[in-house]
Structure formats: C-alpha cells, structure tokens
C-alpha cells in the first residue's frame, strides 16, 4: 500500500504541519512503509472474530454525578504560554 504525495500533503494540513517538498517525498515513503508493515496483519484470518475497539475485558465504567473540585484558576493557567483576565490567550483562528 502506497501513500500518494497528495495524501501526505492532506494529512500534513490536517495535522497543521508545514512540510517542505523534500519532507513530503521522504514521509510519503516512510509512511507507506509503516502502513505496509501494519498491513501484514491482514494475513490473519479474522472472519470469526468480532471487531473491537478495546482489548480490555471492561464495559460500563461509569461515575456517579458528583462534583469534585479540580484546579484553581491560577493552577489551570500555570502552563499557558499567555493568559489574560483568567483566560488562555491564543492567536485567533477564523475558519
């Protein structure tokens, strides 16, 4: 399975990565290799195995609707690159 350069470009855009032309070529090859490796799993016969999103034998892990206090505002903002008026400050993004 080979990823096209256009697909790599699309993925880079979704991931907000600015890649150079050289990087696009390089990652197209490397990502394709990773996909090919994963694709080896297709050799297994899984006809009788139901698909699952989890390997843990768990279901219905639920919490009661009871409030516990989390972080003070100051602690919440401690790692923010920039903050103002108790809020995180970011570069505006308009869709």
């Amino acid at each position: 399975m080979s990823l096209s350069r256009a697909e790599v470009e699309h993925i880079a855009e979704l991931a907000k990565l600015n890649l150079t032309e050289a990087e696009l070529d390089q990652y197209a090859v490397q990502l394709s290799a990773i996909l090919d490796y994963i694709a080896e799993l297709n050799a297994l016969n899984t006809d009788d195995i139901p698909p699952t999103a989890s390997v843990l034998p768990l279901k219905n892990v639920l919490a009661a609707d009871e409030v516990t206090f989390g972080l003070e505002q100051k602690a919440a903002l401690a790692n923010a690159p920039d903050a103002e008026a108790g809020q995180f400050r970011v570069q505006a993004i308009f869709e």
Partner: protein, 490 residues
Amino acid sequence: MATKIQTPAYEAVIGMEVHAELMTESKMFCRCAVVDLTAAQPNTAVCPVCLGMPGVLPVINQQAIEYGIMVGLALNCEIAEFNQFARKNYFYPDLPKGYQISQYEFPLAVNGYVMIDLPDGSTKRIGIRRAHLEEDTGKNTHLSDGTSLVDFNRSGVPLLEIVTEPDIRNAEEAEAYCRKLRAILQYLGVNSGDMSKGVLRVEANISVRPVGSNEFRNRTEVKNLNSIRNMFRATEYEIERQIQVWESGGSVVQETRGWDEQKQKTFSQRSKESAHDYRYFPEPDLPVLEISREWVERVRAHMPELPDTKRERFMNALGLSAYDASVLVADRPIADYFENAVKAGGDAKIIANWMMGELFRLMNKSGLEREQINEISVKPEQLVEVIQLIEKKTINNNAGKKVLEIVYNKGGEVSHIIQSEGLAQQSDEGVLRTAVMQVLDQNPSEVTRWLNGEEKVIKFLMGQVMRAMRGTGDAQAVQRLLEEELNKRK
C-alpha cells in the same frame, strides 16, 4: 430580500440539528461542576481531564447517559443496546485535546419521531434520525487585536446532539419543531431551554426543490441561531435566497452560513472542505457502554409527564379548550405556574383566562418571554386571591386588573393594595344610589333622551357613575339602580 418570489413551484427540505447541554451536576467525562457560563469566573470549573492534559482518562457520567435515554424515549427512539464513543479529530483552540469525544457509528438513540403542533391546530410527525452524546467545547472570545481568549468551564459539559430526518418543509414547521423539542427537554428537566445562554443551540440544514420532485439539492447549514425568532427569520430568508439563486439560473453552493441579526441576512462562512476530515475512530480510553433493557425501563419509570400527556389531562380533567391547553403546556414554567394556581384553589378555566389575558399582556409589555414567568412578582397564589376576591364581589373585574398590574410592577400584598388604592368594590346601596342620582341630575339631556326611548344612553350614564366611583362600583348593582331611578323620572 427585496421582493418575495410569488411562486408555489418550490418547497423547502429542512433537517434540524440541535445541541442540548444536559443539566447534570458534573461534566461528561470528569467531575468538574457544570456552571453557568455567564456567571462563573472563567477557568474555575476545570481539571486536567477537561483541559486535555497528558495522561488523563475520561470516565462516563452515568446521569448524562440516563438523561440521554430519557430524551431518546421522549422522542420515541430505539435506545441502542451497544454504545461506543468515538474521537472526532480537529484542531481549534476551544478543543484542548485536539479531538472531541462523541458518538459516531453507534449513537445512543435512533429512529424516533416527534409530533409537532402547527399554528392551524394540526400536528405533523417529524422523524428523529439519531440522538448521540458528546462533550461540549470551551468558549472562545475573539479580541480586536487578533488574539482570542479561551474559557474551558464549558469544556466537557455533556451535550446531546439531536438530528431530525429532512421532514420539515417551511419555517413555521421548523419553529414548531424547536418549540416542541425545547418543551420536551424542559419537561424532562434536562435542559433549561435558554437559547440566549447557548445551552440549547439550533442549526438548520436547508435546501429547496421543485414541488413534486424527490431530489435533494445542495443544502446550506445555517448557524448562529440564538433564539427561536432568529431561527424562524433565518430559515425564511434562506429559503427565499435559495429559490432566487435557482430562479436566476445559478446553483446553490453547499456551505455553512451564519445569521447576521443586524442585517437580517445569512452570510457565507465558507471553509475549506479538507478542514472537515474528522478521522473518527473508536475512543480507546473508554470501554464500551451496554444499555440493558432493564436499565431503559428503570429510566422510563422515572420520567415526568410530557407536554402531550399534560395537554390531554388539562383538557379532560380540567375542562380546558384544546387551544388553551396547548398554550399552557408549551413552556413548562407556564404549565407549572398554572398548576400551582389550580392547586391554590382556583377554577381552572378562569385561571387560564387570566393568565393568557392579563398576565401574558403584562409580560409582553415588560418584554418577558413566557418561560420567564417565574421571575414575575405576581405569585400563583396571588392570582388566585384576586380571582376569588372578584368572585366574592370584594372587588370588581377592573379593580382586579389594577391590583394585578400593581403587584406585577411593584410587588406587595393584594389586600394592602386594595385598601391603599381604595379599590374595594362599593356595593352599599345607599352610596351607589346617591352616586346614581347625582349623575342623573348632572346629565338632564341624556336622561331626557333615555325617557324618549333612546335606551343605549344608559351606557353613557353607567360610565359616568363608574367614573364618579373611581371604577369601584358593583356594576350589576349600578345598572339596576340606574334603571330604577330613571324609571322614577318617567
């Protein structure tokens, strides 16, 4: 829109998407408090989970699931036995994890319907395609300097997305759907219905097509609808806009459009298609959720009465007309107010008349929405007190209206106001007769006209007596005494 195209040749095809925050105590996947965004200090109801810090794990809020089941049942949906959450991946500053936990392939509720009530008294069935649970995002405030401030108090608040089939054909039906859905959510006690605070958000997917065709043409998704009125106007506008685009030989672009309240127009919010590649995949941090039939039945057993059932009861047990019952059940606070008044000992039909007459008039005058009836200073017991005083003839109808208006505007006790304003009904025959005779003496020409057979003059004389008594006279007694005294002058 300058001119409305007078053509019956098009019909609209509308599907609605509603996002309803669920009024749990804590958030969907962490135990931070759900707070009123407009009142709480920013970033004070947050923790590492809803801030998307590394290494944290979400845990599903059981109450949110049960609220979701309640809504699903109220919308006549099948509740899915197998539920799985999914990651919806996109980058935006209000989404700290870089993904939203939602449901995709396996929603909580599917294949339902709701009966909507149209202005002409008819009902229509609107299909519900699905309702699924997810988490709300934080809130961005854009500043003029090119930066945005982000408050994560809302991040992780339980959100139920409810999607209809494209069964809605015009703005009236869209409004009726919103009103009915909002009433159901309010009745279930899972959402306040306050669109201005953003706890209930509506989007309309709109396309138009020639009447008689079954095709689906390009649709637009209209957002920024922060009230039912705006939703109605935006929908009407968008239908007309699309008809004009097709009529002028163009074609409608499939896109997202916002509603500009100032300009009363929708406007394009076109975004790059590639931005909406959400790469959904099953949420690995959450085990699957199985909802047993027993669980569904336990939830069903605790569901409160819904609007349609209440309307039937108002009609059958309390003798209200279909119209009155519909108006009174349309907003839960109105229905509660009405029922409290009936409990306080009043006649249901008379209470309904006074609520829909005087109270609604006073509320309209002061710009209150129906659902804000709890904020008015006239309590249900006071309305009943006024009605009973009228029945006992302590005050007359007009004085009752005056008392209500004073309590509404300034508060206070009904009995005090009647005393201080001198509104008690005057039934003392001696007093009334004196007033009647004075009026007759002061208006000799009207008396002559009456004596000459002009019977309707009595209305004028009646008005004069009532005015002289500042509206407090017992109207029936005044009428009787007027006739007596006039006859004496024959």
